[in-house]
Each structure stands twice: as C-alpha cells, then as structure tokens.
Amino acid sequence: MLRRPSSRLFTIWIIALVAMTASFVDAWRLARTNDAAIERTAELVEQLRLTDPVLFTEARYTRHPTQADLHSAFQSHPLALEHFPSGTLIPPTIRGAYERLD
C-alpha cells in the first residue's frame, strides 16, 4: 500500500496531525496541572499586593513598568537614549494606558 507516493505522504501527514492533536491534549493537560500553581501565584500577588511580573530586573522601570515614573527611562539626562536591551521590548510611554488619569 505504501508503494504509492501519496500513501507515504498521507502517513507523514497523519503522524504530524496526530502530533498536532497531541499538542492540544497536552495544552489541556498542562492547563489543568498548572492551574494550582497559577492560583497559588495569584494568591501571592494578592497577599503581597504585587503589581508586576519579574521579567526584566536590570532597572527599576523595567522591573516595575507599571509603577515607574512615566519618563524614567530618560532621566539619566534630558537627551539620554534608553540603553537597556529590555527597553526595546517595553514601549517608552504606553499610550492610552494613562490617558484619563495622568
């Protein structure tokens, strides 16, 4: 049966589709497994009144982007260019986020 090239292709596609379906099942399994961990993290956030994930620790405005002064990236001197690599991953001023209150 596998002598036909199309049969061989279908076999490969079926294996890849099974792997893809397995990824959905795995995603569902991981979501259930990690649920308790996420709940625990959420509890910690509530208890310690945390506001930011620890994604970038090199400067205060990258460690706590929501708490930093709006222009702290440029406070080294008036024409300072933002120089931390993660600064390229965080918008300097998040337009819209503070539109009403600031």
């Binding site: 993290t41 986020a97 503070y98």
Partner: protein, 378 residues
C-alpha cells in the same frame, strides 16, 4: 466521489514524483518554510501564553496604588497623606506598602526588598524568592550579609524560600521585617513607599482615582485596569517587535517563494507543454500544481507548528530567551501554560499556507492556458 478521490490521488502521486525529481531544491524550500512557520508559531504561542498567565495573575493585584510624585519622581508617602485618603468616600480599606530596590554587587543584580503585610517575619530573618536560591545559592537556614546604603553591613538568616511555582511574580523578592527594612534603608518612621486602596464598588474605581487627584494633586493613582492594559500592550509590543525583527526573513522567504513560483524554470515549462501535448486538460495541470504548492506549504505548517510547541513549552523558548532576558542577571525559570485558540492557528495557516499556494497557482495558470507548442518552444 470515489472516482474524484482516485483522480486526485493519481495527480498527487504524479506531483510527488515530479517534486522528487527536483529533490534538493524542494527539500530546501520545505526546510526554510518550516523554519519560518516555526519562528512565527513560537512567537505567537509564547506571547499568548505569557499574556494570559500574567493577566490572570494580575487580576489579583491592588485595585488602586497611590504614589506620590515630587519633581516628576516617585517619592515617599508622608503620614498626613493617609489621613486625607481615609476621608474619601467609597474607599473600603487603605494599606501601606514598604518596598524598594537593593543592588547586590556580588551578583550585580537588583533585588526587590519588601515588607509583607500578611506574613510575620522576625527581625534578622528574610524570606527570598526562588531566583535568589538558584542564582545566589540562598537556601533555608543560610545567612547573607547585605551592605546598606549607609555602608553598614546587615546580616540576615534565610528562613524560607517562596514557592518555585510562583517564580514569575516572586523571583527577585526579599521579604523582611518592617524594622529591619527601615533600619536598612534609613527609611523615616511613618513614611511609606506607596499606598494600596481597595474600593467598595468596583465601578467607582475610576471616580475614586479622579477624586484622589483633586484632593492630592501630587498623587499618581495607578488603577488595576491600567496595570492590566500595560501588560497587554507590553506583550503586543514585544510580539510586534519580534515580528518586526523577523520581517526581514519573512520578506526573504516571500521573495524566494515569488521567484520560484513566478519564474517558471525551463524544465517546468517543458513539463507543462508535454503534459498538455499528451492530452492533459488545463484544469488537471492547475490541480497538479495546486497539490505541489499545498504539499510543501501544509507539510511545513504541520512540522513548524509541532516544533514550535515543543520549543516553547518543553525547551523553554531557549532560542529567543537571550532577547527576552536582556542584561538581567536574575531571570525567573517558569513553565508556561499553553493557551492555544483556533483563531491563532487559523491566522497562522492563512498567513503561511494560503499566500504560498496562491503564488504558485497564478503563473501556472498563465502557462497552462497557452498553446503547448508555444510553451515548449519558449
């Protein structure tokens, strides 16, 4: 129906044999296409998972954080602030936060020092985040000396490490006693880093923020919805940035695919001419070429997606990790929870498979509709 399926299978068989004749070129194309899908799917899966996890966790963050600004910079909250805010209607509770940054010259990293309100920590003791355990080697019952800004050396005993599963939010935390914190930073009594408010009616949060700004013009209220919006926009920005960096490779692939499909090789032209001369209909030639494009694009889509899933959720996104880490010494080790939705996959399919198949079909249609003799002679 069976006839139709059998006809398509014969066309597919013919297509695969034809692809096998140009093996190196087509395998190269499949590898490049798979890599492209892999990169796009990796970015999309990672960002989606991180965004949904951060947003879900941050839904428990404070409703309002009140900071004080002096000359445009974050300053300490003086005691009289609390009295004023306490008089605001609609505020259910007021809590103060004591936290700050400490630069550890040994590790060349910043820690976040904090006084917890819901946990008692004795003087001289600290509780550390998991990243400090694996980066600085601080386990339970180990000691650490930190030099305060006054130059004085303070020694602390680690009594606990925060749970590893909370690392995304707690990696660099050092929890300590309030007296230790004030002594360590020479923090004036009665002053705090900021204030956290909870509001009785969630719909009143914005109004309370506005009232706060009227009452205390130097205050900067940060609402939970702003925190969530900030993180949504940061991840959108990051995804956009990675995609912008990748746009050069996407463009290069576009040019490759376009070149391959528009500039039909002499062999391909001759093949079409011969097929038509021996009696193939224009429709059959187009169908055969459709299968050719679809075999490569769909295979690349399946392989690229599966590889991306393994890369993001089992190999911890290691190929792109340096970009995300930046210069940070302390970086959390966290396992992301996949968030795959149908729309994400459909978008990936539409942006990768469909344009390629279309780019293959257009020139073939042109060649297949011309006279076989002209095609072979050209």
């Amino acid at each position: 129906m069976n006839d139709w399926i059998e006809r398509q299978r014969h066309l597919l068989d013919f297509t695969l044999t034809s692809l096998a004749r140009r093996k190196t070129k087509n395998i190269g194309l499949l590898v490049v296409f798979t890599l492209l899908v892999f990169v796009l799917a990796s970015v999309s899966l990672y960002t989606q998972a991180l965004r949904s996890e951060a947003v879900r966790v941050l839904e428990q963050s404070p409703e309002i954080v009140v900071q004080r600004l002096v000359a445009g910079r974050h300053d300490l909250i003086p005691p009289d602030y609390l009295v004023g805010i306490g008089r605001l209607r609609g505020v259910r509770s007021i809590e103060t936060r004591l936290w700050g940054y400490y630069y550890d010259p040994v590790l060349k990293a910043n820690y976040t020092l904090m006084v917890p309100r819901t946990r008692t920590i004795e003087q001289g003791e600290i509780v550390v985040g998991p990243a400090l355990e694996h980066t600085r080697g601080l386990g339970t019952n180990t000691g650490i000396s930190l030099r305060a800004y006054s130059g004085e050396l303070h020694t602390f005993l680690v009594t606990d490490v925060l749970p590893h599963e909370t690392e995304l939010m707690s990696a660099d935390l050092v929890l300590m006693n309030e007296d230790d914190f004030r002594r360590f930073f020479n923090f004036p009594d009665g002053h705090y880093t900021d204030i956290v408010l909870s509001v009785a009616n969630p719909r009143e949060v914005r109004n309370i923020g506005l009232k706060l700004m009227e009452m205390l013009p130097d205050a900067r209220p940060i609402l939970r919805e702003e925190v969530l919006r900030t993180y949504n926009s940061i991840y959108a920005w990051r995804e956009g940035l990675l995609l912008a960096l990748l746009s050069a490779s996407i463009l290069a692939f576009g040019i490759l695919a376009w070149e391959k499909s528009t500039g039909l090789s002499a062999d391909e032209r001759r093949e079409i001419g011969i097929l038509k001369a021996i009696g193939w209909e224009t429709g059959d030639v187009i169908r055969m070429k459709f299968w050719e494009g679809f075999v490569i694009a769909f295979s690349a889509f399946l392989f690229g997606y599966v590889l991306a899933y393994v890369h993001v959720f089992y190999l911890r996104f290691f190929l792109f990790e340096p970009v995300l880490k930046g210069w940070a010494v302390l970086y959390p080790r966290f396992a992301l929870t996949p968030q795959i939705d149908a729309m994400q996959l459909i978008t990936l399919f539409i942006f990768t498979v469909v344009p390629y198949v279309a780019a293959v079909l257009v020139p073939i249609w042109r060649a297949a509709t011309t006279d076989p003799d002209t095609v072979m002679r050209s």
